[in-house]
């Protein structure tokens, strides 16, 4: 008669779960492998996913100089173009953008009163054109029309043109660098710090 010698560890074989029948040491390494795999995957994927979904956003918007206020005749609307400082160095001509500036006339204590309108239609972002003869902004895409003060006149836009934040500094008109405006993120909103 032969006696079966059992190793001490065999007595500790788990009796339930996926490790049934495995020696304790093997089942420990098995679990350790899963844990190591999980940690490795997390270590690699968290920064990779973060890289994909986080893009730098300026917390304060730089000011852009549009020129001396004497350069804007009262009642006149014109397109002022500039290089957007929110650009990347390799943005090329796409960083060159513009806003419509309208000098609405002097208001006693405030000095000159300006209206600075984004070029993007409030409907779907197409570039509006100013028609001085008819005093209207028109959008070529779906026929959005705005009055000289930027208020919606007709067509599908749900609101008036987006307005840039402006200031007068040292007799010069300055605006906060405009980002791409949308219905939920107008130029009047401060950028949310990410």
């Amino acid at each position: 008669m032969t006696t079966i010698k059992t190793k001490p560890s065999d007595l500790d074989r788990p009796t339930s779960g996926s490790d049934v029948g495995l020696p304790v040491r093997r089942s420990f390494f098995r679990r350790l492998t899963f844990a190591a795999g999980g940690v490795a995957a997390a270590l690699a994927s968290v920064p990779i996913i973060g890289y994909f979904f986080r893009t730098p956003e300026p917390t304060t918007l730089p000011w852009i100089d549009l020129g001396p206020i004497s350069g804007f005749r009262k009642g006149e609307t014109r397109l002022v173009t500039f290089d957007n400082p929110l650009r990347q160095p390799w943005d090329g001509v796409t960083a060159h953008t513009g806003v419509f500036v309208r000098n609405e006339g002097a208001i006693a204590q405030n000095g000159a009163q300006f209206l600075v309108l984004a070029i993007n239609c409030a409907h779907l972002g197409c570039p509006v054109t100013w028609f001085p003869e008819s005093g209207l902004f028109m959008c070529p895409c779906h026929g959005g029309v705005y009055y000289a003060d930027g208020e919606r006149a007709s067509g599908p836009p749900p609101r008036g043109l987006f307005q840039c934040i402006w200031r007068i500094s040292g007799g010069r008109l300055q605006i906060q660098a405009p980002r791409f405006p949308t219905l939920q993120d107008t130029l009047k909103d401060e950028p949310k710090s990410a």
């Binding site: 893009t55 650009r87 390799w90 796409t94 197409c126 008819s134 028109m138 895409c141 006149a153 949308t182």
Partner: protein, 511 residues
């Protein structure tokens, strides 16, 4: 000599195991019917695959030269078009083979749908096919962005504005799509990565699954009216059909595929050579106004649907409707995976296909014509036809000048020429009296509809001459509009305000 060759062949096969692995796959049995005349219905999938291979080849070739940088992309496109030998042809071929691929994928899907090939046990083949269609369309959209002309730039703006409407996360989404606060180099790099890495990666992965499913689930038997799909008995019957009567794919069936693929390649090559590359239409300068971005042709129908629907439906059509369409496509094999397969016994399916393609055709035509877009240069570019101005008294001539100056022409045609956003005004005097004309021009469409209120933008003199001109335009033989005789409301009643509470109305000047 031949023994030498076969010895070399044997040497390689002993290592590659081609005869043992790949050959049986190519020779997998298909139903006999699919190798006969009915097999001509089965060619569109492989034609799509062939054009995809052509797209990969031309895409790699273009990537050797194209610079995905916002300040250089446009130059590199011009270089491809004019300096790089045959660069123009490869750009053209990449575009037309891509178009051909969309056509072939749609033909393939239509055939699979009409012949019920998506039913049991090929539901997953259809589902991966739907995602393959989405990948193909995604390649078309991202490819257009890489053209980096005003269409690409402002197309991104439109896309961003749409994404910005997503409730809650809209702004973050726009930021993510553009890779920054403005449209520029980061956006182009993102779409380059989407076009050459992300979507092709997904596409090839899905294609692998799709082909695997075709091999393991088999090619469907050409439908026979009255032969119903029943998951309980289908597998056994298919096994019997294919093993008893089936033929290897490597043979007549593959010849048909190869023939149609060859025709497809030849057609896109000839079209590419004749038509030439598409764009770029100009540098992507955001300060150049008047850009009217149009989507590529597979999206024109959606563009038209969006433009023709009331503004209150827009957000729904932009954000929810496409998802609903995808859900419907995905639901097809889950809702009906059994029963009749023959198109002659499935009138609803046939009718559905006819209705869908008719709608897509009409909407695509409207998208090409886009009557909702004002003609931005019509005020200076489309003069009023001379024959309408012959013997016109000075006051009315002045009115014609006012008509041009006030950009009325951008939206209103005269004698069929001009914008088509508003009605043609040649015979407006047959519809509206002078007072109604003044009212319409001063106040626009009530409630801020499609016409702006010109009350503040015109002085009484301009209004008088303009109305005189429009009243005179009426063609001979058409009676003038009559004043309504029944309970006429007082003419000086304040009309509806254009935008309530915002814009005080100018009193309509009287001529």
């Amino acid at each position: 000599m031949t023994s030498w060759l076969s010895k070399i062949g044997d040497w390689f096969d002993a290592r590659l195991s081609f005869r043992g692995s790949l050959l049986p796959i190519l020779k997998h049995p298909i139903p006999k019917g699919a190798a006969g005349p009915m097999g001509w219905w089965y060619v569109f999938g492989s034609a799509s695959l062939t054009l995809l291979l052509l797209q990969i080849l031309t895409g790699i070739a273009l990537a050797l030269v194209y610079v995905p940088s916002a300040d250089r992309a446009y130059d590199s496109l011009l270089y491809l078009n004019y300096d790089q030998p045959l660069g123009w042809f490869l750009r053209s071929l990449h575009y037309y083979a891509g178009s051909g691929m969309v056509v072939m994928v749609l033909a393939h899907m239509t055939q699979v749908f009409l012949q019920g090939a998506y039913k049991y046990p090929r539901e997953l083949t259809w589902l991966t096919g739907v995602f393959l269609l989405l990948c193909t369309l995604g390649m078309f959209f991202t490819g257009q962005v890489l053209r980096w002309d005003p269409d690409a730039y402002w197309g991104l703006a439109v896309g961003g504005a749409m994404a910005g409407r997503v409730p809650g996360v809209g702004p973050q989404l726009v930021h993510l799509v553009f890779g920054g606060p403005i449209i520029g180099g980061a956006a182009l790099s993102r779409f380059f990565a989407l076009h050459v890495f992300i979507i092709p990666g997904a596409l090839l992965l899905l294609l692998g699954v799709h082909l695997w499913l075709i091999l393991t689930r088999g090619v469907s038997v050409p439908p026979v009216p009255g032969q119903l799909v029943d998951p309980k008995t289908y597998d056994a019957a298919y096994e019997k059909e294919v093993h008893d009567k089936g033929v290897p794919f490597l043979g007549d069936a593959m010849l048909k595929d190869a023939f149609v693929s060859a025709i497809a390649v030849a057609v896109v090559v000839v079209i590419a050579a004749i038509v030439g590359p598409k764009g770029p239409s100009g540098p992507p300068d955001p300060t150049m106004g008047g850009a009217n971005p149009r989507p590529e042709w597979p999206f024109l129908w959606l563009f038209a649907l969006l433009s023709l629907s009331p503004p209150s439906w827009e957000t729904f059509i932009m954000l929810v409707f496409p998802l609903m369409l995808i859900a419907v496509l995905l639901a097809v094999p889950l809702v009906s995976n059994r029963g009749e397969r023959a198109p002659s016994r499935r009138p609803v399916a046939v009718l559905g296909v006819v209705v869908i393609y008719t709608l897509l055709g009409i909407l695509t035509y409207e998208g090409t014509a886009s009557p909702w877009s004002p003609k931005m240069n019509a005020w200076s570019g489309d003069p009023i036809p001379e024959h309408l101005l012959l013997k016109t008294p000075p006051m009315e001539l002045m009115g014609a000048a006012v008509f041009q100056n006030k950009s009325c022409r951008n939206c209103h045609a005269i004698d069929g020429i001009g914008g088509r956003r508003g009605p043609d005004l040649t015979s407006v005097a047959s519809r509206l009296t002078r007072d109604q004309l003044i009212d319409q021009i001063s106040n626009g469409t009530p409630g801020g509809g499609n016409m702006p209120a010109y009350g503040k933008e015109m002085n009484p003199g301009e209004m008088a001459t303009l109305v005189a001109f429009l009243s005179r335009l009426r063609p001979d033989g058409e009676p003038p509009a009559q004043q309504p005789t029944h309970d006429e409301p007082p003419k000086h009643e304040p009309p509806v305000q254009a935008v309530a509470g915002r814009r005080p109305l100018a009193t309509a000047p009287r001529p």
